[in-house]
Amino acid sequence: MDYVGHNGKPIVERVSTAHAAAQIKDLTRVPISKATAHEVISLSYGFFTPLTGFMGPREVDGTLDDMQLPDGTLWSIPIVFDMSTDDIKKLDIKEGGSVLLEYLGAPMAIFDIAQIYEYDLERMAEKTYGTTDARHPGVKKTMSYQNRFLSGDITLINEPVFNEPFKSFWLTPKQHRDTLTQKGWQHVVAHQTRNVPHTGHEALMKQAWFAANEDLPIDTLKTGVLVNCIIGQKRAGDYIDEAILLAQDALRANGYFRDDVHKVSFTLWDMRYAGPREAIFHAILRANLGCTHHMFGRDHAGVGDFYQPYDAQNLLTKHREELSIKPVFLKENWYCPQCQEVTNSALCGHDATSQSFSGSVIRSILTDEVKPTQRVMRHEVFEVVMDSAAKYGEGSPFCTEEYLKNRRPVFTLDQLEGLDS
C-alpha cells in the first residue's frame, strides 16, 4: 500500500507506544486542553501531513503570507501550541528539551521542543480570518492564545481509546486508505459536515457523486462518498456529535445510499470558521485520507457574514494547481414547490417560489420534535436524531450546557503501566 498524502508527501505517522513508560520517565509533564489533544492526535496519525508537529515562526509566517510551508507545500491554517511565559519558566521548558503532554491526567505524547517564540496575535488573526473582529470565533480563539508559542515534533506514546459511537467511525489516515482500497473505490468524494443530514445535504452528496464518478464505468461502481464529520469543540446550539455520526450513517443503513458507495468517518478538529482558508485546509485534510475529490458548497466553513457565499470556491480555484484533490463546486439545493422536489439552484429556474434549507428552519423543526416530511428529512434519520437526543443529549439533539458538562468523552487515555502517577 502506497500511503502518499497532500503534495505527494508520505503520510506522517508518529506513534511509538512500545516501552512508553521508560521513554517518558524523567520528562516534565505538561497538561493540555481538549483542543490541543485533538491536534496532537491529528498530527501524530498524519491527518495534517506533511506536518510532524507544532509550527515554528517560519512555518507560521509562510502560512500567513504565502499559504505555503517552507518547502512550498500549500498550507492555510497555523497549527500552533501556546503557553504563557510564566508556565514556561515554572516548568523549566527549554529549546532542545522534551516534555510529556498529558491529557486529563494521563500521558499522551512526547513534545520535542525546537523553538520558543512570540508572535503577533492580531497579525495571525487578520491573515487567517481576513478580520480582527472579535465576534469571529476563530479570531476569538487566536486572540486568547497565551503570549508564547512552542514548536517541535510530536510523538504519540498512548493511543486514544474511542468510546461508542465514535469507535465505530474512527479511522486513521492510513486506515482510511486501506478501507477505501478494500471498497474498490478509485474515486472518493469527501463531504465535510457538522450537521445531521436533511434532504438538501443528501442531494448535494448525490450530485457530488455523479461529478466525482466522471468517466468511470458504472457497471461496477468504483466511486464513493466519504462523509468525514468534524468532531471537535462544540458551542451551545450545535448538533451533538453522536447525532451527527449516527444520522449520517442512517442514510446508508436505510438505503438512501447503497452500501457500496457511502462511508462515514470523522476527524478531530476544532473548526476555525476561516471560510476560504478553512476550505483549503479541508482539501488538504481529505487528500490525506485518500479522497480524490472534495465537495464544496455555498458558505463553506464560514460564519455570520464574514465571507461571501463563494469565497471558498474562488480561493480553491486560485490554488487549484497546488491541491492534491479535485474540488467539486456546487450551488445550494432548495425545495421547489413547482418542481415538487429538492433541486439545485444551478438548474431550477423557479427562484421566486423556491424554499431554502436554512439551518435555523431545520433546527426549529427538530426543536419542536415535529416529524419532518420526507421532502425535508428522511424519517429514519429523524428517528435516529431523536434517539440520539434521548440517549446522549439529555433530550436535545443540540448541545446544551448540561450536555457539554456531562457528556461521555469522545475518547479516553489509559494510564500507562509501570509509570508512577
Partner: protein, 103 residues
C-alpha cells in the same frame, strides 16, 4: 381574532396532533404551508416580548437577518404557546403576554 399585531414571529411547526387541535378550535386555516409540505403557525410578538423571551430562554435566538423569528425555544414553551393560542383564539402578542405571565 387577533393575528399579526407584531412583526416578530414565533414559529410553531404543526404536526398531525397539533393540526387536529387547531381544527377543533376552527383555527386550522392559520397554519400556513411554510416549507416542503410542512405547516407552521406564526405567533406574533412585540420587540419587548422578544427581549423577555430571549432573557428567559438562554438557548433561544432571534434570527434578525432572514426569518425575523425567535428560534430554538424549547418544545414545552412552544406547546404552551400553542395551547394558549387555541385557548385565546389568537396568534397576536396577547398570547405571548399571557405566556410570559404564566411561565
Amino acid at each position: 381574532m387577533s393575528t399579526n399585531n407584531g412583526t416578530i414571529k414565533i414559529n410553531v411547526w404543526i404536526n398531525d396532533e397539533r393540526l387536529d387541535a387547531l381544527e377543533k378550535a376552527g383555527m386550522a386555516q392559520l397554519a400556513e404551508e411554510a416549507f416542503a409540505g410542512m405547516k407552521l403557525l406564526a405567533i406574533h410578538t412585540t420587540e419587548e416580548q422578544k427581549d423577555l423571551l430571549l432573557q428567559r430562554f438562554a438557548g433561544a435566538k432571534y434570527d434578525s437577518a432572514t426569518t425575523k423569528s425567535i428560534e430554538l425555544l424549547p418544545k414545552h414553551a412552544k406547546d404552551k404557546l400553542l395551547e394558549l393560542s387555541i385557548q385565546m383564539h389568537s396568534t397576536g402578542p396577547e398570547v405571548t403576554d399571557r405566556f410570559l405571565q404564566e411561565a
